[in-house]
């Protein structure tokens, strides 16, 4: 898990802070909405980056596991008439176990084979999850309304929804937890080692296969928990995950594969950009292109850098 050198961090942070201040003055709603979106995107992207950085696999079914977590919470809320947020722990646990099963049955068998097989396998898994969800719950969007999601605050003449900041909290907690896990726990250090050099990890006595299984399961558990949060504010339908997978990968690629801290920054940039476009009246429909433009730019920059070195 590399972090940027301190000097480069400031090169990004200072202009970004200036930009946000100017933007906040000119268009405060876009900033609030953008920060909330950034929280959501970071919360979703962090677990994908974890797998990418350590197991080295792009999980194209990432967003679909999130979708599954959201449906679990929906099912729970409908059956118990309870608050869907209560389902966070059960959903995380359920997806952790599912992660272990999916890893053993599928992912394990393409570790070390071609990237092509890995991409196709997780693509196949994504389709299976999406279509199973369609069979179980139809393609109609579902949503849950709770009172607390419409809480708002007023600062001066500005009134805005505050519940969206729950995603920012989730992202920060996730980041802190993962950083602690990777740096301070023995298992986490084994995971970092396996991510940097699986052969090296094996010969120092690390059971790399078990590390991969746990990392994969943790990632799914986090995706499931974020899925529950997602349900409290968004409509959920079987295909909702595809776009989230793509956005997660964009963020992971932009931050540099395996760099968790970078994901927070990149989410902020893209979240703001997206909300700026979508809160404008004429161009709202084009907001979906932001991430695509970003990934193409990232690819151009990286291939340029590769040619230079």
């Amino acid at each position: 898990m590399s972090a940027l050198p301190r000097s480069r961090r400031y090169q990004i942070a200072v202009p970004l802070a200036l930009f946000i201040v100017v933007l906040a003055w000119w268009h405060p709603y876009a900033v609030i909405e953008g920060v909330q979106r950034a929280g959501l995107y970071a919360a979703i992207a962090l677990p994908m980056a974890l797998i990418l950085g350590i197991v080295g696999i792009v999980n194209l079914a990432h967003g679909d596991f999130l979708m599954l977590g959201a449906y679990l919470a929906y099912w729970f809320a409908v059956h118990t008439q309870g608050d869907p947020l209560v389902a966070i722990l059960p959903a995380a646990l359920g997806l952790f176990l599912l992660g272990a099963v999916v890893y053993r049955a599928t992912i394990k068998h393409v570790i070390g084979s071609s990237e092509l097989s890995q991409l196709l396998l997780t693509f196949g898994l994504a389709i299976v999850l999406q279509q199973t969800a369609t069979l179980l719950w139809t393609s109609q969007p579902v949503s849950i309304n709770t009172e607390y999601t419409s809480t708002s605050a007023t600062i001066g003449s500005l009134t805005f929804g505050t519940y969206g900041f729950v995603y920012v909290a989730a992202a920060v907690i996730e980041f802190a937890g993962l950083t602690f896990f990777l740096q301070r726990t023995r298992l986490g250090q084994a995971a970092s080692a396996s991510g940097q050099n699986p052969v090296g990890a094996r010969i120092v006595g690390i059971n790399v296969d078990r590390v991969y299984l746990i990392v994969f399961s943790i990632s799914l558990a986090l995706a499931g928990a974020v899925g529950v949060l997602f349900l409290t504010r968004h409509a959920v339908f079987p295909l909702v995950g595809g776009g989230l997978t793509f956005k997660s990968f964009c963020l992971a690629a932009m931050a540099g594969l395996g760099n968790l801290r970078g994901i927070l920054w990149c989410s902020l940039i893209l979240g703001l950009a997206e909300s700026l476009v979508s809160t404008s009246k004429e161009y709202a429909g084009w907001a979906d292109l932001i991430f695509f433009v970003a990934i193409v730019a990232v690819i151009l920059v990286q291939s340029h850098r590769r040619q230079v070195t």
Partner: protein, 290 residues
């Protein structure tokens, strides 16, 4: 291959659909042979479809000519995308194409003046006035050309280039091959095929819409077909298209909400259990018996 001519409209229709998927599957496989994987087949299919429909409608272009325009438009889009994204590891390209279909859909939806927006656009009449026999001949011709291109790729310099890309990038580089150039070339050609197939599809049904034309079926089925039949050959995708294509319509009727589950399962299971596909398996059997 001529049998559906005497076999009634339903069979002709099924055969046309199989040929449509056969072209998509084979063109997808041609790109896979370079080590790059595209999840954007439906995107180029849709570009071709929209370009053909809009030029036929607005410029009063002859339907056949508009199909050619569809191919060119898809090729142009692929060139732009390929030149920017094919330089990095396959993963980046693959994921970019994953979003491509959705991106094109967003663009189409947001340009209602040109494309008809979310409702789509209807053409005054289908190609050949809806004659299923002529439509079948058209698709058969496109399929034969696609097969010829695939075989040409397997037998010429391109084959050497793309297999060395796949097997060893270093070897390819040191032998002076510009692998990037070849990858872009193959991507452009295969996208043109997908565009032409999409254009024919639009002309056949005289209708394009964001949801119906950029349908994930057109990405998913070809991939499942190639995997089932066996990648990296001309024969594999053909076998896969014949097998899955002939059950596709039936599955759609029987499982309107879950037929795609079958293809997802096929992809997953083939990768895990039989990565060489049916054609590879048969070849292996054949070699063993020799």
């Amino acid at each position: 291959m001529a049998f559906p001519l005497y076999a009634g409209v339903y069979l002709q229709h099924t055969a046309t659909i199989i040929l449509t998927y056969l072209c998509l599957a084979l063109s997808w496989d041609m790109l896979v042979r370079t080590g790059q994987i595209s999840f954007g087949v439906a995107g180029f299919f849709g570009i071709g479809a929209y370009s053909a429909a809009l030029t036929a409608l607005n410029l009063k272009l002859d339907p056949l000519l508009s199909i050619a325009v569809g191919g060119l438009a898809a090729m142009a889009a692929a060139l732009v995308l390929g030149l920017t994204t094919l330089q990095l590891r396959g993963m980046y390209f693959a994921i970019t194409t994953l979003a491509l279909t959705e991106i094109f859909r967003v663009i189409v939806r947001n340009l209602p003046g040109l494309t008809g927006g979310p409702e789509g656009t209807v053409l005054p009449s289908a190609i050949f006035d809806g004659d299923p026999t002529k439509t079948y001949w058209l698709l058969l011709a496109i399929a034969l050309v696609t097969i010829a291109i695939s075989e040409a790729f397997q037998r010429t310099r391109v084959y050497f280039a793309i297999t060395s890309i796949r097997h060893d990038e270093m070897v390819a580089r040191s032998s002076g091959l510009d692998i990037f150039k070849y990858a872009v070339f193959v991507f452009a050609v295969t996208s043109a095929i997908q565009g032409i197939v999409g254009a024919s599809f639009a002309q056949q049904y005289a209708f394009v819409s964001p949801e119906g034309t950029f349908d994930i079926d057109f990405t998913l089925l070809p991939i499942a077909m190639c995997l089932l039949g066996g990648m990296h050959s001309t024969l594999g995708p053909i076998i896969g298209a014949l097998v899955l294509g002939s059950v596709a319509e039936y599955l759609k009727l029987q499982l309107p909400y879950g037929h795609l589950l079958v293809y997802g399962a096929v992809i997953t299971l083939v990768i895990l259990l039989m990565p060489q596909g049916v054609a590879g398996k048969m070849k292996e059997q054949f070699v063993r018996e020799q």
